[in-house]
Symmetry: C2
Subunit: 212 residues, 2 copies
């Protein structure tokens, strides 16, 4: 839910209170930016993530001091930003972007044992569906090298900017094109690894994947 | 340059010391994630940005408390992440992403007067080249509503992951496809604003733009 800390003061008309919208934005993204403060200095780390009900799962290495701090429950902020297009107004000031943005504040908790394994499966199936059943699953040593955390979806905000240029009345007559240039994202043709065994073809499930 | 704070402890082989690589990553991106700490709580904000020599320019609203804090010189971190593809290994553990990531630590300074105007032009020309000369440029009132800041490129790190799956010897014989699924991003056809004057065509320079 929205708190005083996540209330959008700037462009509040773009903020929505609907949890379903938050979930849709989180489910459309793959990479989040996570903050952690160390010795007064904030850091922003990029992580792959997956929503799982009322929490967001992500993982990192036990070798990362900053990630260990997140896993130990330091105050954090997870932000997901999807850029959908450029909004070209007749004035530079009104020019902007179409985007969807989600922000979650809170503290993550480390997952262990069965919950950790299941979270990795959930992340794998979210980002690369079909892969978990086919690829070799993590062994004990690999699990020990990985920190898996869950950030509860409790304090959050979501913004959606999907409109058209809103030029001032006095600019509408300018002979300047105005509109939206949409961003399109997709996966290209799969590139086989140089050491791939002969005869192993790309699996059919790749064709159903989309980066958004 | 790399400091103790920006030295990559995790996967150090992906870190490069070359300032030209940092510049190339910064110049390929459009949106950065910026951290600011308020009352002990870190926040991550998405901003459009442009590199200008030895500094990164970005702007925000005077109505944003968090952005005012950044403009006032609070410790910040600016991170740019470009996801170039999925790396599908034969094991889940070795599966990852191709990406380019830049991080700058420091304090931003607010720009004023002529420097502010020129920074807005630089940002506009970087993100939407050709537009500044054609669209109506910011007036005094609009400038007053905008905070423009410059973050010096002094303490930074850059990582580039552009390789192939590195499966363990024992996994190479598994009958699992391995390789890379590249992410492709481009602008789609321009969509005219509903209130566009009849007869105003999309400008030719749009065809030269690319989201990366």
């Amino acid at each position: 839910m929205t708190s005083e800390r996540t209330r959008v003061r700037r462009l509040p008309e773009k903020q929505v209170e609907d949890r379903a919208v938050l979930d849709a934005v989180l489910d459309a993204g793959r990479v989040a930016h996570v903050a952690v403060v160390d010795d007064g200095q904030p850091y922003v780390l990029a992580v792959a993530y997956a929503r799982d009900g009322d929490r967001v799962l992500f993982h990192g290495s036990t070798g990362s001091r900053l990630f260990r701090s997140i896993a130990a429950g330091a105050d954090t902020c997870l932000t997901v930003t999807l850029v959908d297009g450029l909004v070209l107004a007749r004035s530079v000031f009104e020019s902007s972007m179409r985007y969807r943005g989600a922000m979650i504040l809170g503290r993550a908790a480390e997952l262990e044992h069965r919950a950790k394994f299941e979270a990795l499966e959930r992340m794998s199936e979210r980002l690369t569906p079909g892969r978990w059943a086919e690829a070799r699953q993590p062994n004990r040593r690999e699990l020990a090298a990985t920190l898996v955390v869950a950030l509860p979806i409790e304090e959050w905000s979501v913004k959606v900017s999907d409109g058209w240029p809103t030029d001032e009345e006095g600019d509408l007559g300018l002979p300047v094109w105005a509109g939206v240039l949409p961003v399109e994202e997709r996966y290209g043709e799969p590139l086989a690894a140089p050491d791939l065994q002969p005869g192993v073809e790309p699996p059919p499930y790749l064709g159903a994947w989309s980066p958004r």
